[in-house]
């Protein structure tokens, strides 16, 4: 009860003096982390390890799995398995950029708005409200489509449109800490406000920001692959899951894995990232209640 400063009396905080047991890492979470590492490795090294990913062989087009092609071939006779691995780059790096950029914007604006309050806070909040009111995917579609900027423009637009969730989250976390005694004690030590903000408040807001970045990463995988499915963003010729799916969906009868393999990887990446984000949030919210 913060509005009752004289609410005297010790609450029964049994066990606060005992060290809390470390949160157990669940097997599922460990598996998720392993999959995430594999996918990121594919994004980083896939195209260098498989230089022949776009080798065409029209004669061997649209084949079911077998004959040296683990997942069969597409209409141009390209190997689906290799293309899928090579396609990790555009979706995952783009999505990672969106999530990290959004985290950066969110932390800077959220920290300033939450700590400074007043006009800064008002402006930042209005800005976040405005962006939150529009559907990100549609705006990115329209801006990237009309603007003709392709991949870079799409990633930038998505970054800005994803940032309100980070801004709000960080701002709320900062405002929760803002008037806690340990922050005010740092202020009364005469420390510069910048120091108080960066060294005292910010570290304590990081866990939520990290969790939200993972969730945004997942959301951006979905959004970016949706854009490339619609034929926007990725330049022609680049391997990409969304584009593969769009191109190969007519092969559902002849080689379903041509369309299903990229679909499965999109879903798998997003599931793993969402799960990790949820877990981070869960662990830290439990610790916060300590």
């Amino acid at each position: 009860m913060t509005d009752h400063p004289t609410a005297a009396g010790p609450a029964d905080r049994t066990g606060t003096t005992a060290r809390r047991p470390r949160p157990r890492i669940r097997p599922l979470t460990a598996a998720g982390a392993a999959v995430a590492v594999l996918l990121l490795a594919a994004a980083a090294f896939g195209q260098s390890l498989l230089p022949g990913w776009d080798a065409q062989d029209i004669a061997a087009g649209a084949r079911m799995p077998g004959g040296g092609h683990l997942l069969g071939t597409d209409a141009l006779g390209r190997d689906i398995a290799e293309m899928t691995i090579a396609g990790a780059r555009s979706t995952l790096t783009g999505a990672a950029l969106v999530a990290l950029g959004s985290m950066l914007i969110g932390n800077v604006l959220g920290l300033l708005a939450g700590y400074l309050g007043g006009w800064t806070d008002m402006l930042v909040r209005r800005w976040a409200d405005l962006l939150l009111a529009v559907p990100a995917l549609l705006v990115t579609l329209v801006v990237a489509g009309i603007g003709g900027g392709g991949y870079a423009l799409a990633v930038c637009a998505l970054m800005v449109l994803t940032s309100p969730s980070d801004i709000r989250l960080v701002r709320t976390a900062v405002r929760e800490q803002r008037h806690l005694p340990y922050v005010e004690a740092a202020e009364t030590l005469g420390l510069p406000r910048r120091t108080v903000m960066l060294r005292h408040i910010w570290p304590n807001t990081l866990p939520v920001a990290v969790a939200n970045t993972l969730l945004n990463f997942a959301g951006s995988v979905v959004a970016l692959s949706s854009l490339s499915f619609l034929g926007l963003g990725v330049p022609p010729g680049a391997p990409d899951w969304g584009r593969m799916l769009a191109e190969n969906r007519d092969l559902l009868y002849t080689n379903p894995s041509a369309a299903l393999a990229p679909a499965v990887l999109i879903v798998l990446s997003a599931v793993v990232l969402n799960h990790l984000g949820d877990r981070v949030l869960e662990v830290f919210s439990k610790r916060g209640n300590a």
């Binding site: 009860m1 005297a8 066990g15 003096t17 009364t188 510069p192």
Partner: protein
């Protein structure tokens, strides 16, 4: 009384009226999550119809869980692992969840601590009282039935002293005291035989506290209902209860009639707890305190849990199993009392509430002498640590009515003295403290904190903040939020020292040495420098907060309810520490508190704040012994302590 009891203990209710309402025997409660720590280790107690039983203990005693187990409303992660609970002769632990649910409200109801969260914010008070009424007596359907229910709700509101229109009010429209009354009416809606009140007055200020306690006492008599009062506040327990159970670290250490326990405790813990409770009537010099803190579940050894802190400890205390036995025949009311102290026969009389003062020349005279250290003439302004003149502060603007937190407040804190600022919640005392240290702005007047002149209408600039930091420091109320959770104690103190150096303090020697010196000053061992706040108890955290403030060698230390969140024994430690540090370093203290006993114990001067105005000011003895203003008298009357005749 039908329960069979071990031979060592002739029944918890022995000597109490027959036909027990509640019988708890050998109750054990443990945490289920993670390591299975035992939280309550075989607690027994009994309540007779119409009786008020107090369960007192510091945090970590398990008092709240032990009594909540009766209602079957233990929080997640905690479960009963042994013992029996019988309500009106019926064993309830064996019942299914549905059957236990049916007992709640009618046989036993629970009233909780915080009136602001206990009621649903989206339902009117009347609706929430009506929800608990017995449906067979007050049917829900039909127009006539609805009118009858409404009339019943109004009757229930009247019973707790609230007007009928409260029925249509939402909780956020009422004050804390009114809410606690409405919640009491809701708790009693199904006419329980037994009401359990878990710290019902802790969240209220002293005036409301007294009123709610009086209300509970009246309702118990009128309804001939059993009442269990769980509290950390010994004064509350002794002033309202027939019998007292003293819990410590999951065990009952002593129980008996309230008056007898207060006058002649039969366990060293009770005696030490009573001794460390400051009194509003006289200063205890020194205020005795109990070293250490309550051991957390999981780190309790065999034998008496209090042994590690006990001044009378012997080898047998650490090994002999804890059993409640009758005290020596000479003790007052010995036949109705039990103590867990194995050595009680060997100990000479333990001091009661009347305490060690009995040999003195008489309380009043002693009091005069002890507070005479303060000059009786008004404080001189020239060497004052803090001068506040004509300060006003208004919160809320525009169409909202706003709230005048402070109006035309003038206050002088003389150098080297302890000035207490008292008032009920909302009186503006914390606002004034925050203004004095630059955390809050003010609208009018002047504030001079040592060398720094603060201006109305704006926060101090960087240079002023640094000069202010070199002169004034603050210790806050909540020890759990006072330290950054991610930093070690050493890192926190090193930063404070670095800030002090930057603000112009000449610190000689190695910085790590300085950290150890600070820890030593506040009575913490050197290895605490590597600990994080989570590994510290509340009292230890508050010591670190004091050390951080002292790093700047301030001339003025502001304590904003700095001991209010601590247990009595720990509160005594911190009060002693502050007094000692003030003596050795000769800084001034502005001590914000709601507790007049603490004022008596520590302050040289006191100012009483009421609705944003200073209504009375003077030396502690003048103000507390000869109060001139109505508000001071009201605050004194609301103190639950009874003066013990010596």
């Amino acid at each position: 009384m039908t329960t069979s009891t071990p031979t060592a203990e002739p029944g918890p209710g022995a000597g109490t009226p027959t036909a027990s309402l509640l019988d708890v025997d050998g109750l054990r409660i443990a945490a289920t999550a993670g390591a299975r720590h035992s939280i309550v280790d075989g607690v027994s107690f009994a309540v007779a119809p119409g009786e008020c039983v107090g369960v007192v203990g510091e945090s970590g005693s398990g008092k709240s869980l032990a009594v909540r187990a009766v209602t079957g409303l233990l929080p997640d992660g905690v479960t009963v692992t042994g013992g029996t609970v019988s309500l009106g002769g019926q064993d309830v632990l064996g019942l299914g969840p549905r059957a236990r649910g049916a007992l709640r409200g009618r046989r036993v109801a629970l009233l909780m601590q915080d009136p602001f969260t206990m009621l649903h914010p989206q339902l009117t008070c009347g609706r929430q009282i009506a929800d608990g009424l017995r449906e067979e007596e007050h049917p829900r359907r039909g127009r006539a039935a609805r009118a009858a229910r409404r009339a019943e709700v109004v009757r229930r509101l009247a019973e707790v002293g609230l007007p009928a229109e409260i029925a249509d009010r939402y909780p956020h429209e009422l004050s804390g005291g009114m809410l606690q009354r409405a919640a009491t009416a809701a708790a009693l809606a199904a006419d329980p035989d037994l009401l359990i009140a878990d710290e019902p007055t802790t969240a209220l200020d002293s005036a409301n506290q007294a009123a709610v306690l009086a209300l509970l006492g009246r309702l118990r008599h009128e309804r001939a209902m059993g009442l269990v009062l769980i509290t950390h506040d010994l004064r509350v327990a002794f002033s309202s209860c027939d019998r007292i159970y003293v819990l410590y670290a999951g065990s009952v250490l002593e129980h008996g009639p309230a008056g007898d326990v207060q006058a002649a405790p039969q366990h060293p813990y009770t005696a030490a707890l009573l001794a460390s409770e400051p009194s509003v009537f006289r200063r205890k010099d020194p205020l005795p305190s109990i070293p250490g803190s309550v051991p957390p579940p999981g780190s309790r050894g065999a034998g008496c849990p209090f042994a590690v802190r006990c001044a009378h400890v012997a080898a047998e205390c650490r090994t002999a199993p804890l059993t409640l036995a009758a005290p020596p025949a000479g003790a007052p009311g010995a036949d109705r009392r039990r103590t867990a102290c194995a050595r009680i026969g060997a100990l000479t009389a333990l001091p009661g509430a009347a305490g060690e003062d009995t040999g003195d020349a008489g309380p009043r005279q002693a009091r005069e002498e002890r507070t005479a250290g303060a000059p009786h003439a008004g404080p001189r302004r020239s060497d004052a640590a803090l001068v506040v003149e004509g300060v006003g502060r208004r919160f809320g603007t525009g169409a909202d009515a706003g709230h005048q937190a402070l109006s035309d407040v003038s206050l002088t804190v003389p150098a080297g003295e302890i000035t207490a600022l008292v008032g009920r919640s909302g009186s503006g005392k914390t606002t004034l403290a925050r203004i004095a240290i630059g955390l809050e702005t003010f609208d009018s007047g002047t504030v001079r904190s040592g060398p720094v002149e603060l201006r109305a209408g704006g926060r101090p600039g960087p240079a002023d903040r640094r000069r202010l930091a070199a002169h004034t420091q603050i210790v806050f109320q909540d020890p759990y939020a006072s330290l950054s959770p991610l930093r070690t104690v050493g890192a926190t103190l090193r930063e404070a020292l670095a800030a002090a150096r930057r603000n112009g303090l000449a610190v000689d020697g190695d910085r790590d040495q300085a950290v150890l010196a600070l820890l030593d000053q506040v009575g913490l061992p050197a290895h605490y420098a590597d600990r994080r706040p989570a590994a510290l108890s509340g009292g230890e955290r508050q010591r670190v907060a004091v050390a951080r403030a002292l790093a700047a060698r301030p001339r003025l230390l502001i304590c904003d309810e700095a001991v209010a969140a601590l247990d009595v024994s720990v509160q005594a430690q911190i009060l002693g520490l502050l007094a000692e540090l003030r003596r050795s370093q000769n800084f001034a203290v502005l001590f914000i508190t709601h507790d007049l006993a603490v004022v008596r114990q520590i302050a040289d001067r006191v100012a009483v704040l009421s609705r944003g105005r200073v209504v009375e000011e003077g030396t502690t003895a003048e103000v507390l012994d000869h109060p001139r203003h109505e508000e001071t008298r009201r605050l004194l009357a609301a103190v639950p302590e009874r003066e013990v005749a010596d």
